[in-house]
């Protein structure tokens, strides 16, 4: 019975954790990825983000995956050009609802996920009055700190539902920032190679993320002394391609694929605090076979400099 159930659950998500933990996300900086977070020398940046993610799959199993998680990120500026970051999610609840031969079944888990550590070095910097342009390579790894063998009454949870994958993963890419007093654009290209553990590997991932932040308040800085808080309107884009998961000596046909998400949002930026929120919505979904797809992702949180 358990094997039948597990077979039904195989075609589960890949992207849940990766999109969230990976390099999920300096200047005002985007909300949907962490690599552009600005950090001065000897300065810390702390970001907390509540993430609500709903996913569903087509087919007879009518799968639904709900994730409630908190993303925790801490960054430190070692030099003006080199910053290091740590990011770890805490899953308040990660739940799967699926139709099986025995009826509708609900399985869930919680706890800390896999921790990601990465560094960013500003290789090119062109400052000008009221703005800057920067190009920075980013490299990091993800350590298997999450639980990869959690169980419930039906037995061991499917690998894709675990809070960790048990493997060491590596990632690298380039992030660029162009910022003026009126607007900011960030973009990153990133590749993640996922390791293998106990016969399972999440599919490797390539992504292109972009973010536009446009100041909508104050509307003009003429005659303004000091540094007032800014309100930015955001529009972010995430193009993500994931390979199929590897299971045993084969691959899971119902995993991976390509998706494009757009995320409108708002940011209130002061000298040492930022409050921000976005809703990521799928524009294009091209999953492999019956791979599960995103319905929406809500991200609300704050950042603090100290």
């Amino acid at each position: 019975m358990h094997s039948k159930l597990i077979a039904c659950l195989k075609p589960l998500l890949v992207s849940g954790l990766i999109g969230f933990v990976g390099i999920p996300a300096a200047q005002a900086a985007p909300n949907t990825f962490n690599t552009a977070l600005p950090v001065a020398k000897d300065e810390f940046i702390w970001r907390e983000q509540l993430v609500v993610r709903e996913r569903s799959g087509s087919g007879a199993t009518n799968r639904n995956v709900s994730v409630r998680a908190v993303g925790n990120v801490l960054g430190y500026g070692i030099t003006p050009k080199l910053a290091v970051f740590g990011a770890v999610p805490y899953f308040i609840d990660k739940e799967l609802d699926v139709t099986t031969p025995m009826g509708r079944v609900e399985r869930d888990t919680d706890g800390f996920g896999d921790i990601s550590l990465f560094g960013r070095y500003t290789l090119y910097q062109n400052d000008f009055t009221g703005g800057t342009f920067r190009v920075s390579p980013v490299f990091g790894f993800t350590a298997p700190t999450g639980d990869d063998n959690d169980r419930d009454g039906f037995g061991e949870l499917p690998r894709s539902l675990q809070t960790g994958d048990g493997a060491w993963d590596g990632f690298g890419g380039v992030v660029t920032t162009y910022q003026t007093l009126q607007y900011q654009m960030d973009a990153q290209v990133l590749y993640r190679e996922n390791g293998r553990h106990d016969g399972f590997a999440r599919g490797d991932e390539a992504r292109f993320d972009a973010s536009l932040q446009y100041r909508i308040w104050p509307r003009s800085l003429k005659g303004v002394s000091g540094t007032p808080g800014f309100v930015y309107a955001l529009l972010e884009s995430n193009l993500i391609h994931r390979e199929r998961d590897e299971i045993g000596s084969g691959t899971d046909a119902n995993s991976g694929g390509t998706q494009w998400l757009l995320a409108p949002g708002l940011q209130y930026v002061t000298r040492s605090w930022i409050v921000e929120g976005t809703v990521q919505l799928p524009v294009v979904e091209d999953p492999n076979s019956d791979a599960i797809q995103d319905d929406y992702i809500v991200r609300v949180g704050f950042r603090r400099n100290f």
């Binding site: 500026g77 800057t132 007093l181 800014f230 040492s272």
Partner: protein, 105 residues
Amino acid sequence: MKVRIALLLVSLMVSVTSLASEPEYYLGVQGVACPYCAFGVEKQLNKVQGVKSVIVDIGESRVRVTMDESAVLNEQQARQAVEDAGFSLESFSQTEEHRSTDNAQ
């Protein structure tokens, strides 16, 4: 009327004394374009010995640094602090009032 004039003179003397005792500098800083960036500049300049206050006028890309009485900020200190914050020093000057006070002294 005499009282008013006396008060005015006293307040002028206080202002002049204050200006004379707390040197002010203007730094032109390139790269600062949001409030979050301003914090880094303030933090680094506040580490410099003798700095009393730092105000970033973000719209002007200019930083006003007020020093403690008789403290001096030199251009190299200012440049290092701005670069540690991740930005570039474009210009460095002492306010005219203090320059003339210094010259008079």
